[in-house]
């Protein structure tokens, strides 16, 4: 039942695909279309002293993450994981993804975003671009994308990136909070997601390989360079602009906040694969789940958490970004995010006692 009062009716409509949500979605989408495909924002940006429309966008983005983040911190103030995580999200956005690149630019250095890595940011392993940067940036790009990212994911799951560092995830988990529950929980969506996200990853990997080949052997083969260039610009248009911007954020009020992360992000795909074999998991407390469904409802990635919890099954899903909200909303404290290793003495003991508990009734 909706709380009484016009304000609550409006809020309900915004959060539950009502008329207000459609209006907002149209506004957000329109904003992205104007941003990407026109120069209308440029005079405004210059008028307020921000130089380019992209700086204006960065400023708005950072404000949205900060304001949304403050709301989220207040809402979940009793949950230290949420508080710590959200503070980190805001700080990373305000520094690595905003003020540091601006400062770099001011110092006549490349405008480099320390919080982005390949394959989310194709540029950072695009040889023609990356090799034009000073050496420290080249090293950071390669080590970051190919070593740091997967190693951290093996230890902590993809969450260290997707819900602590990444700007897309950052916006979703702060400004996007009112819409997190709209993700579709059906098995059909899960099947679609598995096809689309790995398809995008495949395309990204192929494109990157082509970029390296044409960088190395381009002189001998101008046709390859041209085709790769075209491929790259389509990729930029479809994946980076349309999918991550227009669809990813524009449709927050209709499709939920992680449509991009779930169905298309190549970074999420790669991290998810590492996560499956890494230490991260959601631990389910035995027999305590009352199948209420709050965990599934508020999972932004559309994971039917309840189906695991009611089956007493601890689990690791490739798509889980480790936002921790399932654990937060569960009224019975059934779920916990953990980085475990079967070598942990505590872990092996727990498995042992759960087996005992499963095979014979206690007392």
């Amino acid at each position: 039942m909706i709380k009484p009062g016009a304000a609550h009716a409006l809020l309900h409509s915004i959060k539950n695909r009502g008329l207000a949500a459609w209006v907002l979605a149209a506004l957000f989408t329109g904003f992205y279309l104007v941003l990407y495909f026109t120069e209308w924002f440029s005079p405004l940006a210059q008028a307020i002293g921000l130089g380019s429309k992209w700086t204006l966008y960065g400023t708005l983005y950072t404000l949205a993450v900060t304001a949304g983040g403050i709301h989220v911190i207040r809402k979940y103030r009793h949950n230290r994981y949420q508080v710590v995580r959200t503070i980190v999200v805001i700080v990373v956005q305000a520094t690595f993804a905003y003020s540091i690149p601006m400062l770099l630019k001011f110092l006549h250095q490349p405008e480099y975003y320390l919080s982005y890595f390949w394959p989310l940011k194709l540029d950072y392993l695009t040889p023609s671009y990356i090799f034009s940067l000073p050496l420290p940036f080249i090293i950071y790009s390669f080590v970051g994308s190919l070593v740091l990212v997967p190693i951290l994911a093996a230890f902590f799951g993809k969450r260290w990136y997707c819900s602590w560092v990444c700007g897309c995830g950052g916006l979703a988990n702060t400004f996007g909070e009112p819409w997190r529950h709209l993700s579709d929980k059906s098995t059909t969506s899960w099947k679609i997601e598995k096809v689309t996200i790995y398809a995008v990853l495949g395309i990204t990997v192929v494109l990157t390989a082509l970029l390296f080949i044409s960088y190395g052997a381009g002189k001998a083969n101008p046709q390859l360079v041209r085709t790769t260039g075209e491929f790259q610009s389509y990729y930029g248009l479809i994946v980076s602009s349309l999918l991550s911007g227009v669809v990813g954020v524009g449709l927050y009020p209709l499709g939920g906040t992680r449509v991009w992360c779930r169905f298309a992000c190549p970074m999420a795909a790669l991290l998810g694969l590492v996560q499956k074999v890494g230490r991260y998991r959601i631990t389910v407390k035995k027999d305590m789940c009352i199948s209420c469904g709050m965990c599934s409802k508020y999972c932004e990635m559309g994971i039917d958490v309840r189906s695991y919890a009611q089956a007493n099954q601890s689990f690791t899903r490739a798509s889980c970004v480790g936002c921790g909200i399932c654990s937060e909303v569960c009224p019975r404290g059934v779920l916990n995010l953990e980085n475990v290793s079967s070598r942990d003495p505590q872990e092996s003991k727990l498995i042992q006692i759960q087996e005992v508990a499963a095979t014979r009734p206690l007392i």
Partner: protein, 412 residues
């Protein structure tokens, strides 16, 4: 083979899936009067508070039933003839079975208060979808409500009404909050928390009379303390009991006590008829009214129907709940002595009960615990020092949010 299950609650539906797992070919029908699909009534409160919609209450995707070839029938069963193995639904349909499972769950205890005879509306329960609909119908025209009964369902209803801006008087008969489960210290902690939210919790109060207005809607209650509390809604949350009334009327009733009497293999006194879940009375006379028991009973009853040897004894009691924001975990039983600590200024406390050198039970508020460890320690008859030394193993708080055991006075 046609298995028929009456009741599409957790016991019935778990049984249906368990039957299907072992018998791929049998016909399986599940009859439910309350809803087309199995819903978790444990989430009724979230539907009432608009945190979920009704569809979210369904624990399984609708296609799971068709995939598992389980037939769902909507309707109330009103007649049972065990000699010819025929059921009749209230709408006149007949259904024959080979093996029958009664999993009809609970209904609220009827409100006993004088004056209710003239009340046509305003009295609500909070157990079924129909109750939820009635609550939602009345809430918009309710400024003040009285909820009677301090159990878990009562608290949930209070939280919902309070959420909708209704001033709630919460009447609890006992001297402190929830003495069935909590010691006075914890009772006071919870009572303070409830009051802190602006709910008027009245301990030691009972309703003595219900008053109605000219439209026959509840308008006030009088209490054992002499006061009168105006209200447009009156929530009766004074416990539930097995839904067996209809069985008293049928041609061949099974043996009934508080619930449907069963053997430890879930067989009732009737041939080819089993019972499980909230409606079943165990050979000990016990009626378990908890989610995991209903689930476990449903699963084991299915095995018994399939011909396995089943001998059910209830496990060591454990449960968890949430009282407004305070999470509660309990395992085991009371002991002669107990070790109690509360985090100063916080709604966090632990109580470890013990008897003759062995721990017997745990009552934990405001932090999360993995009860599996508690079960193990009770089972192993560990003493208090051992348990305190290992207590950290059972902590289940979120990362960065682990309650400090040393602040709780537990040296580790």
């Amino acid at each position: 083979m046609h298995y028929v299950i009456i009741g599409n609650g957790v016991a019935g539906v778990t049984a249906a899936f368990a039957l299907r797992k072992r018998d791929p070919h049998a016909e399986i029908s599940v009859i439910g009067g309350e809803s087309d699909y199995f819903i978790s009534r444990t989430a009724l409160m979230y539907a009432f508070m608009d945190r979920m919609n009704l569809r979210d209450l369904e624990p399984f995707e609708r296609q799971s039933y068709t995939k598992q070839n389980i037939t769902l029938l909507r309707g109330w069963v009103s007649a049972l003839d065990a000699s010819s193995r025929i059921l009749r639904l209230a709408d006149g349909r007949n259904l024959s079975y080979d093996k029958l499972l009664l999993a009809t769950g609970s209904i609220p205890n009827p409100a006993p208060w004088p004056g209710l005879a003239t009340a046509k509306s305003g009295l609500v329960n909070f157990v079924s979808l129909q109750h939820l609909a009635e609550c939602e119908r009345l809430a918009p025209t309710t400024r003040r409500a009285v909820v009677a009964g301090g159990g878990l369902i009562g608290v949930e209803l209070v939280e919902c009404l309070h959420h909708h801006g209704i001033q709630v008087d919460f009447l609890v008969r006992d001297a402190w909050y929830w003495p069935m489960a909590l010691a006075p210290e914890e009772g006071e902690l919870i009572a303070d928390h409830i009051r802190h939210h602006g709910v008027n919790l009245l301990l030691g109060h009972e309703i003595t009379e219900v008053k109605t207005d000219t439209n026959s809607r509840v308008s006030a209650v009088r209490t054992s303390q002499g006061g009168e509390l105006p209200c447009q809604m009156l929530g009766a949350c004074i416990g539930v009991r097995p839904a067996i009334e209809w069985l008293r009327e049928v041609q061949t009733p099974p043996a009934l006590g508080r619930g449907i009497k069963i053997q430890s293999d879930f067989r009732t006194s009737l041939p080819n008829v089993w019972a499980a879940g909230d409606c079943a009375e165990l050979p000990t006379g016990q009626v378990e009214q908890i989610w995991y028991s209903a689930k476990r009973q449903g699963e084991l009853a299915a095995l018994s129907m399939l011909g396995d040897t089943v001998n059910y004894t209830p496990p060591l009691f454990f449960n968890s709940a949430k009282l407004f924001e305070i999470e509660y975990t309990t395992v085991g039983v009371r002991g002669a002595e107990s070790f109690f600590r509360r985090l100063p200024g916080k709604n966090v406390s632990i109580r470890i009960m013990h008897d003759q050198g062995a721990v017997t039970g745990f009552n934990m508020l405001g932090s999360r615990w993995n009860h599996t460890w508690f079960e193990k320690w009770i089972h192993e008859r560990r003493d208090l020092p051992y348990v305190l030394k290992n207590l950290h193993l059972a902590q289940f708080d979120v990362e960065f949010g682990r309650v400090s055991l040393s602040a709780l006075g537990v040296a580790s």
